[in-house]
Structure formats: C-alpha cells, structure tokens
Symmetry: C2
Subunit: 659 residues, 2 copies
Amino acid sequence: MSLDTARMVQMANAIRALSMDAVQAANSGHPGMPMGMADVATVLWSEYLKHDPKAPDWADRDRFVLSAGHGSMLIYSLLHLSGYERPTMEDIRNFRQLGSPCAGHPENFLLDGVESTTGPLGQGLAMAVGMAMAERHLNAAFGDDLVDHRTWVIAGDGCLMEGINHEAIGLAGHLKLGRMVVLWDDNNITIDGTTDLSTSEDIKARYEATGWHVVSCDGHDFADIRRALDEAVADDRPSLVACKTVIGKGAPNKQGTSATHGAPLGDDEISAARAMLGWDAKPFEVPEKVLTDWRDTAERGRQSHSEWDVRLANQEQRGEFERRMAGDLPKNFSLDNYIQSLMAEPQKVATRKASEMTLAQINGKLPETIGGSADLTGSNNTKAGGITAFTADDYSGRYVYYGIREFGMAAAMNGMALHGGVIPYGGTFLVFTDYCRAAIRLSALQQQRVVYVMTHDSIGLGEDGPTHQPVEHVQSLRMMPNVLVMRPADAVETAECWEIALRQKARPTVLALSRQGLPQVRNAPDEIGMCSRGAYRLKKNGNAPKVTLVASGSEVHVALDCAEQLEKQGVGAQVVSMVCTELFDEQDDAYRSDILPDNTLKVSIEAGTTFGWERYVGIDGLTIGIDRFGASAPAGDLFAKFGLTAEAIVPQIMNKLND
Amino acid sequence: MSLDTARMVQMANAIRALSMDAVQAANSGHPGMPMGMADVATVLWSEYLKHDPKAPDWADRDRFVLSAGHGSMLIYSLLHLSGYERPTMEDIRNFRQLGSPCAGHPENFLLDGVESTTGPLGQGLAMAVGMAMAERHLNAAFGDDLVDHRTWVIAGDGCLMEGINHEAIGLAGHLKLGRMVVLWDDNNITIDGTTDLSTSEDIKARYEATGWHVVSCDGHDFADIRRALDEAVADDRPSLVACKTVIGKGAPNKQGTSATHGAPLGDDEISAARAMLGWDAKPFEVPEKVLTDWRDTAERGRQSHSEWDVRLANQEQRGEFERRMAGDLPKNFSLDNYIQSLMAEPQKVATRKASEMTLAQINGKLPETIGGSADLTGSNNTKAGGITAFTADDYSGRYVYYGIREFGMAAAMNGMALHGGVIPYGGTFLVFTDYCRAAIRLSALQQQRVVYVMTHDSIGLGEDGPTHQPVEHVQSLRMMPNVLVMRPADAVETAECWEIALRQKARPTVLALSRQGLPQVRNAPDEIGMCSRGAYRLKKNGNAPKVTLVASGSEVHVALDCAEQLEKQGVGAQVVSMVCTELFDEQDDAYRSDILPDNTLKVSIEAGTTFGWERYVGIDGLTIGIDRFGASAPAGDLFAKFGLTAEAIVPQIMNKLND
C-alpha cells in the first residue's frame, strides 16, 4: 500500500532538507548523494525494508547497508524520520561535531540501525555479502520461521569501481545470494567530475557476467522504483538495481554536478533548493504531516516483529538461537581437555597444523563457526572437524571456498560477524594481510569478532621468496588499534590463542602461524591459560638471571636454544614467550616488570622487523630480527642466512654482556 | 615464418621438461602452469615477442610479464632457451635455492628479462597496464621510430579473480591500451580444486563489458594460438586471449588436476611424462637441435634491434631519450631557487598545498613526471604545473584520472617505473595506503622510484572520522623495507622531500601530507637541504637543554609551541624535526647522538601510534600520540581531545622532569 505521490515527494524532501541543512551547519559533508537517492530511499524504507524502529536489534530485521557511507545524512535522516530513538534532531544538528552519533561516516558503534561502518569505499557492499551469507546459513539452521530477511545496499560509482567490488559480487553471484539487492546510485558523477573521466565500463553487463540479475529504473519516479524493486525481490539471483539519479537533486544550480558531491551547497543554493522543492520548513524542522507519514511506515515492521516474536516463543530451538544471536559461547565450552592431552603427549607440528587440530575441537563444539580460505585450504589448514562446504545448493555448510579473494573474504567475514549468529574465521598467507588490511581495520573499528588464520608467517615459508615472506606484517598489525595479534609458539599456545580469540566479543584476532614444524615448548599441565596474559615466563632461572630472551612464535624455541647455550657458558637466562603484545600491554605494571625485569639484558628474537621491539627490551637491549626483505631458499637456509639461530645470536649476547 | 609443428612441440616440451625437473630437484614449486602454457609461450616467444636476448635492456623491446608468477619455471625456461646470459642451466638446477637467480617467484632485480617481480596475484597484470601506459606516453613524446612495442601478459585464474584485476582492466579498457595482450591460462583449476568451487563468472563477458577485445583459442594448437594472437594484435582495444589449456599438460596421470599446481610431480609421474612427451633427454639437458631452434628465434629481435639502433642514432631527441630511459634527472635540476623564495616569503599552507606548489615547479622542469590521483585530484593537489590529462585520445598528457582505484593506480605506477622513461606519482588519502599497501610493497621490493602523494595524514583530516584518519599508517609504512616515509612540517620541508624522492633511483617514497594549514617553521636560507639527513635540529638551545622534542609533520609546530612554553618556565628545550626515520637511521652514530642527546628528556610528538617511538626517545622518554581510532569532528577539536596541544603536553613533560 503506497501513499500518493505528493506525500511521497514530501517524505523524500524531508531527507533532502535535513541533508543540505546538516551539511551546511557542519560546513562539511556530502549533500549530493542523500539528495539524489532520497526518492529511492523513501520507497525502500517506507515500503520494502523490514525493520522495527523500536527494536533495532530484532534478529530477523532486514539489513540495510549504506555502502556509499559519505552520504551519511541519508541514513541519519532515515533513522530519525522512521522513529528510531537516535539520532535526535539535536544529534543531526550536531552532524560531524565531537560527540554527536551523526559522525562524518556512519559508525555501527555509534547508532542502532547503522548495521556497519562504511566510508572506505566498496567495503559496505562486500560486508553486505557476508550478511546475506549469514542470513542464508542461519535460515538453513533455524528455518524460515526465525530467519528470513533481505540485505539491502545503497552503493555509488565508487563502491562499484573499487577492486573489492569484483571480489564481492563474484562471491555473491556464485553463491546465488538472491536475497541481496544493491541499489546503485547511477548518477555519472565522481569527485573528480563525470565518470567518463576514468571509466568506460558497462556495469550492468559486468554484473550479469558474474551471475547477477540487473534491472534499471528512474530513481526519481516512485512507481518505476517500485517496479524495479519488485522485480529484484522476485528474482532468485542477487540483484543490481541501477537507479538513474541526478546527484544533488533539488539544488537548482548545482544538481547533476560534482559540486554537490562533497561540499556544502551554500546558503543561496539552499534557499533556491527550498523554493524548487516547495519546502517551507525551517532548517531542522520537519512538518508534522510529513513526520507522521514517515512514522506511520514503521507499523508494517512492528507487525512483522510481533508475529515473529510469537513464532520464536514457540520454537524448540529458541534458547540456542538466542545464545547464538547474543554471541555467547556455550557455557561449557572449553579446550582444557584437549590442551591436557597435548601436555600428556607433546606434538611437534607446525602451528598451522596445530590450528587445524584445535579447529577440529572447536568446530565440533561450536556450531556457529563458519570457516574458509582464500584458495589455500590445504595450506592454511582451515577445514577441520568434518565441516562441509557452504554452497548455493547447501547453505547449511560451514566452510566457504572464498576463491582468490582475500579482501572480499575479510569483508564478508566482517559482514557475517555484524549480522550475528555466526563466528567467522578465514585463512590466507600472512603476507596477504596486505591485500585485506583495510578490512582487518574495519573488523577492529567495528569491534567485531573475526578470526584471521594467517599462515606461513615468516621466512619459514621458505622457497616462495620475499613476495610471500612477511617481515613487517606482524609488527605492523600490532599497531592497529583493537586487534589481537597472536603468534603462538607451539600446539599448546595455538589452542590457547584460539580460545582467547573466540572469547573476544568486541575485537578481531590475527593468528600468525608457522608453515614449519615446531617443537612443543609448554608441557607443564598446571600452566594452562598462560597466553591470556600476552607474555609469560616460559623458562625460569632461579639464580638471578642475567639475560631475558623475549621471543614469539617460531623463534621461541630458538630462544630456548640460546638460553641453554648461555647457561652452559655460566650465564643465567630466562625465556619469555611474547605471544600477544596487546594483551601484555594490558597487564599491570607489577606483572610486566616481573616478566621483563630491568636488571637483565633483554633480547628480542622475532623473524621480522626489529622496529618497535625497543618498547620491550629497551634501547640498551638487543633486537634480533630481519630488517630487509627475505629471499627464496629452504627455510633452514634462510634462518641461518638471517642469523636467527642460537649459533648466531649467543655470541652477540655475550659481546653485549662483555661491553 | 613458423617452424613445423613437430619442432614446435619439442621446443615446448623443453619448457615442460625443465619445469618438472627443476621443481622436482627443488622439491617445491609449481609445474602445472609452465607445462600447461608451454605451447602458448613457445608461439609467443618464438614468433611474436620483440626482444633481443643479447640486449635485455633494449628500450623498445616488448615487455613480457608473467603475472602468474608461481609458474616461474616458465620464464626461466624461456630466458635460458632463448639465449639470455642468465639463467644458466646451473642456475636452473638451483631453482629455489639460496643464491640462485631462479627464485621461487620471478624477481626483477635478480634476472634481466624479468620485467617485474610477480607472485602476489593480480599485480603483474596491473603493472603491465602501467607499462602499456608508459609505452603510449613515450610514443607520443618520441614517435614510432623510438617507441613502438607491445606488452604481453600471462595470467592465471587467480590473477583474474583478485580485486585488482577489475581496477586494472577497467583502466586499460578506458584508456584503450590496444598494444596490451593478456594470455589467460584458462585451465579451470585453482589450488583448492576446480574453479567452480568458488566462481561462476563469465570472464570473457566481463572483459568485454570493460572495453576489451576477447578471443579464444585452443592453447595446445599452434595454428589456433597464432590465429588468436594475430587477431589480438590487429584489434585496437586491449585484448584478452583465452587459452584453453590443460594444467600440467604432459603428466599423464595428473594433468588437468590441482595436483600439478603447486607440488613436484614425483619421479614416477615425471618418467611417465617423459614417455608421453617423447622426451628422451636427461634432466637439465636440452637436445642440441631443440636448443638451436630456440636460439634461432632470437634473430628476429636482433634484427629489429639493429634497425632501431640506426633510427636512434639519427634522432635529434636521442640525448633526451637516453637520459629519460636511464632514469637520470636533468643535470641542472634543482628546487633551490624555489625554496629560497619560500625562505624570503614564508607561506602558511597545508603541506598538500605545498606539494602542489612544489609540483608546479617540478612538472615544469621534468617532462618525465606522470601524475594522477585516485579520484581525489582537488584534495590531493596532484594536478599542477599545467599538465593535461592522459587519455585514450591524447597519450601525451601527463595527468591520469585513475578513478576510484587506489590499488590499480599504485600497481600501474610500478609498471610505469619498471618500464622506464617516466617518473610516476599519484595521490589518495593516507588512510587508503591500506588499499594499495601490497603495491607499495612491490615498489619497495622491486626498487622502483614511485612517489605516493598521501594527503590528509592524521586526525587533522577532521570530520570524515576514524575510517579516514590514519593513526597507525605512517608508523606501519616505516616498517616496510626500502621505503622512504616522509612527513614534512611545512612548505620548505615539503619541497626538500619532493627533491629527495625524485633523486631516489631505487626506492619509493610515501609523502604524508596534511590537510590543514601549517606555519612555515624553517626560514633560515643557509639551511637548505636539512631533510636529507632524515632528522635535524630545527630549534636550538644554547644552554644545555633539558628536553629534546622530536616531532614530524603537523606536530612540529606543536613541538615548537611546547619548547616556547618550557623555556618560559626556565626549562631549556630543543626541537628536532623527524621528517624521515629511514634517512635518519642511515646517518652515522655521531650525528644521531648529537641530534638525540642522551642527557635530555626526549619526547616524541606525532598524531599517530606511539608504538615504535621508543627507538628515538628511549624507554624513559615520553611518547605523545594516539593509540586508538580517531573520531569525527573539526580538526582543532580533535587535536584538543587527543591531547596534541602544547597545553596538554607541557604539563606531562614538567611532571616527568620532576619525577
């Protein structure tokens, strides 16, 4: 049931007015997109989007992603007009000011109804793919009664031009995510000017080539928009709706030009726009009739929600569904028994293999994990515990063959985590964090539990050479806020790290795992859980040690070798496994200075850049690492070449002590 | 003139034999691709590729890029068989061993004839786009007589699935780079299995949608390959040649499966392959007749080269052409006069604006620069000095509208630099180094002069918020080997940094530039060139200073404010501008300890992560920065919120001094 056109026009104009006024007040922002897409958004939100403004966390709501996040006033307007508690009009008045939830780009942690942080172009759409995957998976697990919703995206030319678009739509097309609809703001304008400055692509043909359904509409004709959305909803492929729009629609002198894209329109143009739109209300005021029309649109969703509540109440799986949507692990979840078994029978395995062994445990205990790899399944050891493929024919599967799409994988995992009900993990080589770094950053910023299984974590990768050997990556990821970077030394630490990662409800984890086999260095059953402190003393020395060796991952056993040789030379040495600097930094002063005592020579050993290790070993310490690109050769030869052996390190320590 | 099929078969089998034997000897590597593409590569190298094995640096040679770099034995075989000085057969025997130029992936710095380092998938093809752009540009500048060659690429499914492929082919199609030909190894296999595990894309349709010409062939039928290549050469669009191949062709039991992709075939299978191929020669031996046929193919290129030499000798522009291809700057190139003018009339400008002012100088003096931006021209201030657009209609232009393709831009710049004759620079926001980080790494690894103009370098970006505010990026790029990261404080430093960047023949530079206006802090005319030492004393204090403030970029003037306030309180303070840590680290001990004296309290101030600054200020120093994500607000409010003002910092210094 649609309102008449005149009322729809006013509803859309409310978006236009709020957008141009807020941008003007902030003296920065992007009025062009919200004004151009106001008509499409009005149809979508008032007639199609399933949501309940009074219950923004309703599990079966449709997900709406504003991939073109710079047009943030569009979603702030929609949320306010639809009746969400926030943003208030005061919030909108303070658009882009310190403390306002109406930030420059929409942030999922600032406002309910903002399903994801968008702004870095292309990633919103790619996260939506993950949301649509999670929806189908949970539908397979819990049925139509509980999970049956759509994922809607508004995307601009920028989102479609970015490389990640190719990965995202390739994955969505392959997986036949028919409940995903992308509304493309086809306005022919980018920041630099018209799109023909930089592209000649037939976007519709490209989408069709990747298995998408494509339909076009006039983005300023309500009936035509409805026709296109109906067609999109009816098709069983993911749909691209090309909405032909005029950027900045309503600004008489500037509409249709890049001048409206990213700058305030100016007072004169805003006055002219008001005249053109027939919008008499003052800035930040919405006429009562228009607001009522908007608020009434919520009724549809409220009713759906009530019906859903009834269905949920009658569901046998209710408890499990609620647990999963809350992101809680089962109360009895623990890997302690498995770790005890490792203590009893130590394993010399690569930590990537140890991760597989751990995953065999985890995937059996946690039905919510969804694993995958960017075409390195056998190398990342990510398929474990008997999970089967997630495919277009079987969405109940829990293993995603992401293809050679690292960035697309990471963004999809963000989308799954944001959707909720699943815990995504995925693998590639650690060096290829460079390909998906922008998505790892969004895992962190959005406070999402995503586990990155990054194998082949050093020159230990060997023959593939410097393009595949991460030397700066571990350290550079440690600098990213709100990410746990963990580099376990053996099978026990790997299991502990996995458990810590799974228990983080508000941050991602990067597991840096070795290609090569590593001896088990922790064998004392009373020491389960040490990794939770970030660093701990693995080898003690009772006699006032002179040297503290601090190492991570595959260099921990090298540090133990060094300690042994030092002690043979009468130099007391202790060994600290620095499995996670972020967790260690969170410990209290007493713990930290006990682990890294001032009265010893501190030596860091890590097969990567030495830059930054001064924080732990001091300026007077020794930092052993690799401050250049690696090389192609068998791993053992490389460790020798780069001096990461006890033979090469111990003499440097002795020299330093004798200085 | 083609050889008969039987001889061509043997030439191709020589590639197959060398590939499977070398991988077997190394006990690691990828035999499948070289064996599958041996027939295509034989036709290409023996009949189409314009090259002179005795003069691998001939400026007008065709460029050949093995984008599927894991199949490195293909190019090592081709180089050896064609008569390049290296690799020798001994080099090939030592495939993937320490010291062999036959590394796991081809490295441009190890072997002539390897035009680019490939291995990180997708980037080879994207670099080839840059090579093809450079070729057309130099053709426009120097004419058909001197520059008239093609760019050939061999790419696999992985290269085509990566997101960067979309950016690269979109750019190439838009620019109508008709002299670029991509030979796609269409073998339906990836590491995880058949391509239908992860993709359902109609690749040919996608390429056609982006303005490419597409032709298919049977990759094991010489005549059909020739037909397709002829068609590709004749078309004025860039061409994709879909070569239907069998991966591991010749290995009777494994061909056509992912088992041949990334592991040795095993002795039994190799014996069986020898039988199937009719190849009797021992490992690492090539029958004289086959070798002669291969070596004879070089004659075509040798002759072209001779003719070209004659044309060059008669060219008026010879000197300029040779200078540019050698990568030398004009002898009289200097920015000193411009810098003197800044000293005379200090400018308060954003460093991005200072960069534009400098570029206006540079682009006037250096015809070899090719600038651009990933759709942020007006923000990055990269179009300066009257340069015009590089378009399909006018390749003489020197400004590229790269579109919203950061990764594609960076890779294309690598390709231009590798091609030679041009110096590429390009801009985006600093935070989007995350989108192109994998290409920045290849600039560094390949030792190429590429200048990244990365603006909006901190929370000073303001209202766009945390997705657009780089807090970890400057520091994380400093960790990457062989990259100069420069963060100038004012217009003078910006000019000096540009000149240093242009004089680096073997490393890239990242310029981190402010959005916001900054006062000019260096006004002493006798101090031109200080940035070349990486850090220098900007404000001296004669009276045994107690405090050394170390800052970069937009925080240098904050440090000067701090110093002033400290001195008012009777605390002597000096200020060091740390414009480039890498250059500072290269200075001798005496200089470094003079600049950062031990007997002062050292304080770092940078609007980014504090992690790593301990290297310069010690454990006992103060590190002032931002160890969290930013926020959306006007820049001034953010600097206050995050405590990056003298008012917030000086009390911390006083406390520390009084500790």
